[in-house]
């Protein structure tokens, strides 16, 4: 039945098309100056849109790869031996780098701000992953210059990718969400140090963000999320401190989770 219906619809469409083609078409005079100039505009617009699409695709790939790295790194939280996981992440970063190189070469000779909306999400995700791995290794925040250094491809014969400071800041803001997860995971795994470390670190980032003031809507909205993450981590640390000594190891995770759920309810 369904097949018949489909066919019928198809017939209808083809008939409609046929009747449309019976209409006299307005003749386009190819030699008129207007049409000629619009042909040129068409080319310019198309090439710009195509580039935009290619960049969006690249950015999507960077996002996906970076997300995978972040998931991988989350497994390092609370693990006994972080070395192999970090090493694996480093290898995956090389793949992302290839993608970033493609973006850089696409942007060569263009005004990068024209296409920033196409590739910024990917960059931010990449910075998030990079800073998370940096934190796991060094317990510090990766600096703008350090991130910028990974975008330099001119030595390898490519083009450098400009890093917009806003992308860096927004990427760091995203990092705080991951840190929150890291804190909870490691606490649940019975790690007594990492949660407090993360808590301190989050507070530092939060304080630094406060100093920016009202600069852009993106930053302010991220600051709100940041505050929520910090709250959860602080409550988790509180729970660990107060009850950590009393609660048996197996029930700790549950206790932490209920605390977090209650803060979430309050936030909403």
């Amino acid at each position: 039945m369904a097949a018949v219906g489909k066919q019928r619809r198809g017939e209808k469409r083809s008939r409609k098309q046929a009747s449309e083609s019976n209409f006299p078409k307005t003749q386009i005079d190819e030699n008129s100056p207007i049409i000629k100039s619009f042909r040129k505009h068409q080319q310019e617009l198309d090439s710009r849109h195509d580039k935009h699409e290619r960049l969006v695709k690249c950015s999507r790939d960077v996002t996906i790869a970076s997300k995978r790295i972040i998931f991988l790194l989350q497994r390092a939280g609370g693990a006994d031996d972080q070395e192999p996981i970090l090493k694996e992440a480093d290898e995956k970063f090389l793949e992302v780098k290839e993608l970033l190189k493609t973006i850089a070469s696409e942007l060569g000779g263009e005004d990068s701000y024209l296409f920033s909306r196409a590739y910024s999400p990917g960059l931010q995700e990449y910075i998030e992953a990079l800073s998370l791995s940096h934190f796991l290794k060094n317990k510090t925040l990766i600096s703008y210059e350090q991130v910028k250094a990974t975008f330099e491809f001119s030595k390898e014969g490519g083009k450098d990718l400009e890093l917009n400071p806003f992308d860096y800041i927004l990427g760091v803001a995203d990092l705080t969400g991951e840190l929150m997860r890291l804190c909870i995971n490691s606490a649940a795994n019975g790690d007594k140090e990492t949660p407090f470390e993360v808590c301190r670190f989050l507070r530092d980032i939060h304080d630094a963000f406060l100093s920016f003031g009202n600069v852009s809507r993106d930053v302010s909205s991220k600051l709100r999320v940041l505050k929520a993450s910090m709250n959860k981590v602080e409550v988790a640390c509180y729970t660990l401190k107060v009850r950590g000594s009393e609660i048996p190891q197996f029930a700790l995770a549950e206790a932490l989770n209920t605390d977090i759920i209650s803060t979430q309810d309050r936030d909403n």
Binding site: P33, H41, E44, Y144
Partner: protein, 240 residues
């Protein structure tokens, strides 16, 4: 003062991240400053655009060829100020960052594209070219020449504004008994429409503006229809 400085130092020592973000802070205030400057300059441009527009509106009152000629000459005269104003704006923008700030002058550039196109149409019944507009405003034609230019999107938006204005002009020409003009305008806008239909537009503001073009065209065609059924079509037009 010294104590304050020391205190600050200590605070920064305790919060290493703040110093890490200090350069970003600089970047932000710098960014804000540039934007402020651009805003003041674009305000001048907007003022000139309004003035030229006000002068050009006179053609609706008196569409006789002589009056139109005079109006066009006057508006062209006024546009000379714009060149220096655009030069001012160009100075404020760091090299290669046109698109970082372009939202500030997008609207006014569209306005000028429209005004330039309207003047050229009134003078010689044809479509303005990008080099012509660039010459009129004292800017570069293409981005590749590495300088201030009128973005293609803005140029095209200006042309759509022109179509809208012409639909009004067709109506007013008839009111002042100029029955030949609507036929010319109809042919011109139809060609413009054909041109726009060659473009593969994305779902953005330009596309939205383009969707309005058909109504302008329809309005002009209705005027032509009204004239034709009443036998008001000038003999000269029929011959061509």
């Amino acid at each position: 003062m010294e104590a304050e400085a020391k205190e600050k130092e200590e605070a920064e020592e305790g919060k290493p991240l703040i110093s890490l973000f200090a350069s970003f802070q600089d970047y932000l205030s710098n960014d804000q400053e540039i934007r402020e400057e651009i805003k003041t300059v674009t305000r001048d441009l907007e003022k000139s655009a309004r003035e030229v527009l006000a002068v050009l509106q006179a053609v609706h009152q008196s569409p006789s060829p002589e009056a139109v000629k005079k109006t066009c000459a006057k508006s062209r005269q006024m546009l000379t100020v714009v060149k220096s104003q655009y030069a001012n704006l160009v100075e404020k923008i760091p090299a290669g960052q046109y698109y970082r700030f372009c939202d500030h002058w997008r609207f006014v550039s569209q306005r000028f594209a429209y005004l330039g196109a309207f003047i050229v149409y009134l003078e010689s019944d044809r479509l303005i070219t990008r080099p012509e507009l660039a010459e009129m405003l004292g800017v570069q034609v293409e981005r590749s020449s590495d300088g201030f230019h009128i973005d293609l999107d803005d140029f095209l938006t200006g042309l759509l504004l022109l179509a809208n204005e012409l639909s009004r002009f067709a109506v007013n020409s008839v009111t002042s008994a100029d029955y030949g003009r609507p036929y010319k305008i109809a042919a011109f806008v139809a060609e413009l429409d054909a041109g726009f239909r060659l473009l593969n537009l994305k779902n953005d503001s330009l596309r939205k503006k383009f969707d309005g073009l058909k109504y302008d065209l329809k309005k002009i065609e209705e005027v032509v229809y009204d004239l034709t059924i009443r036998g008001l079509k000038p003999a000269m037009e029929e011959a061509s």
